[in-house]
Amino acid sequence: MPMNVISVSNVSVRYQSAEVVSDVSFDVAVGDYLGVVGPNGSGKTTLIRALFGLIPCTKGTISLFGQRLNEFHEWHQIGYLPQKMVSFNPYFPATVREIVAMGLLGRKRFPKHMDRNDGAAIAKVLELLDIGKIKEARIGELSGGQLQRALLARAMVAEPQILVLDEPTTALDPEAREKFLAVLQELNRTSGVTVVLVTHDIMGIGRYASKLLYLDRKLIFHGGFDAFCASAEVTNYFGEFAQHVICHRH
């Protein structure tokens, strides 16, 4: 049985008086490609932020690679691409190469410095994502798609075992979006990288993800796509017609 890299058990998150994530439990096994879907305000981003301790849970436990969150230190195993950076500054004086290099800090010890191997790792990921030509460009000069790929490169450069991406394709045109998702799929299939992808696109996610997690403050469904189409809970939630439309599109 594959090892669980993420285990979420009875987790609730509360903002002031409102419970935005309620009693959610699920596991992500190594090599999974999990699509996290749900309507606006369903708690997807909150759940992802809670996974990494960016928001405290009011209840429940989270484990990464079998270790409780507060005991986990192997952060270089995880690559994270946020939905939008809380304080993104387009005038930040950093080049694409400098931004990507930040992804390597998790595996370095004090005093941290970059060496030749880091340069090779950065060059490799820039080439993989086809942004080698803009490595010396300032981030403020990039298009939405280029910026997203630069941030993905930062998440990938340390060759993490898990990639968690929160709505990474919202700023991309359809062509760039397809290319981006193809890269993710390739990483998942050939390198065995576990992918957790938060998206609104319930119609399209089944083409990529091996599992689906539907969230609407509480967990509506977690499992494979065939099970999603056969699930009575999903029928109750969406109605038979909507469930048929979603499943038929795949």
Binding site: Y80, M85, P93, T95, E141
Partner: protein, 285 residues
């Protein structure tokens, strides 16, 4: 007297030495503060410095040595307020800074009113800097620059994206505390150069000018340091020749550099955009 003879005076040499070190310190730290939208923390801590100087004068302790621990403690107070009282950083800075000024006013009043010493701290008096103050300034500046160098990569990552820095395992809380403590120390040191009233300008202006024109992060730090050193040297020189206050002159030179950088930055953006559009056009053909 030849125009450059001023540099032969020992008190000018002392002022240049301390001023350049503190200028480098302020400008490099300023880049981090400006990017983290913490520019006004310098202003807030300068107000606290006013209160701390008054404490020093009242207790007959060397004001610099009284100010260093008090301002550092206050800077930690700002962090704690943001953490515990769930208020924004600018509100916490406002609260602590007004407490500093209020304490200063009361202590000045209790001690019998303003005196010449307090004015020298308010408006700076780098030309009267003593040998001991030069040594303290240089040593502490080197210490702060060393710490900035040691934590450089982590500080840049936090300035760019604090959440991702946390997930990369960077101790963001500890580094925020270090950054704010270094700022407190820097504000106290810079007080002698430009005075309490203008300390934040020395943190903000060279950094803002460099951010207009520099490409990468390291280049921004180097340019900010170069602008600060140029402003200190030319400010001391011009103020001595024109017999005007040195602190104010240094800041005015910084402002002129900022204006020039603003113009140069706008021109560079237009050139870069034209170049990129040209490249995109050629690629499309």
């Amino acid at each position: 007297m030849h125009l450059f003879d001023v540099f032969h005076y020992q008190f000018i040499q002392r002022a240049l030495l301390a001023g350049c070190f503190i200028g480098v310190l302020c400008s490099t730290l300023g880049v981090f503060l400006v990017l983290r939208r913490l520019s006004l923390i310098g202003d807030g801590l300068a107000h606290v410095t006013f209160g701390s100087i008054a404490v020093g004068l009242l207790l007959r302790v060397e004001p610099l040595y009284a100010a260093i621990p008090l301002v550092m403690l206050s800077s930690l107070g700002i962090l704690r307020l943001v953490d515990k009282a769930k208020i924004y950083g600018d509100t916490a800075i406002g609260i602590v800074s007004s407490l500093g000024v209020a304490t200063g006013i009361i202590l000045v009043s209790v001690s019998g009113g303003f005196n010449v010493d307090l004015f020298s701290y308010l408006f700076g008096s780098i030309l009267s800097i003593s040998r001991a103050e030069v040594v303290t300034s240089v040593v502490l500046s080197l210490l702060v620059i060393l710490l900035l160098a040691l934590f450089y990569h982590d500080l840049v990552a936090i300035a760019f994206d604090e959440d991702c820095a946390k997930i990369a395992g960077i101790q963001t809380r500890r580094l925020n505390a270090i950054l704010i403590l270094l700022t407190a120390l820097t504000v106290v040191l810079a007080m002698k150069v430009v005075g309490i009233m203008l300390v934040s300008a020395l943190l903000i202006l060279p950094a803002s000018a460099a951010l207009q024109v520099a490409g990468g992060f390291k280049r921004s730090l180097l340019m900010a340091a170069a602008f600060a050193v140029f402003s200190v040297v030319s400010g001391i020189w011009v103020s001595f020749l024109a017999n005007v206050p040195t602190g104010g002159t240094i800041i005015l030179v910084n402002f002129l550099i900022f204006l020039a950088a603003l113009g140069w930055g706008a021109k560079s953006v237009v050139t870069r955009q034209a170049f990129q559009e040209g490249q995109a056009g050629r690629a499309a053909m």
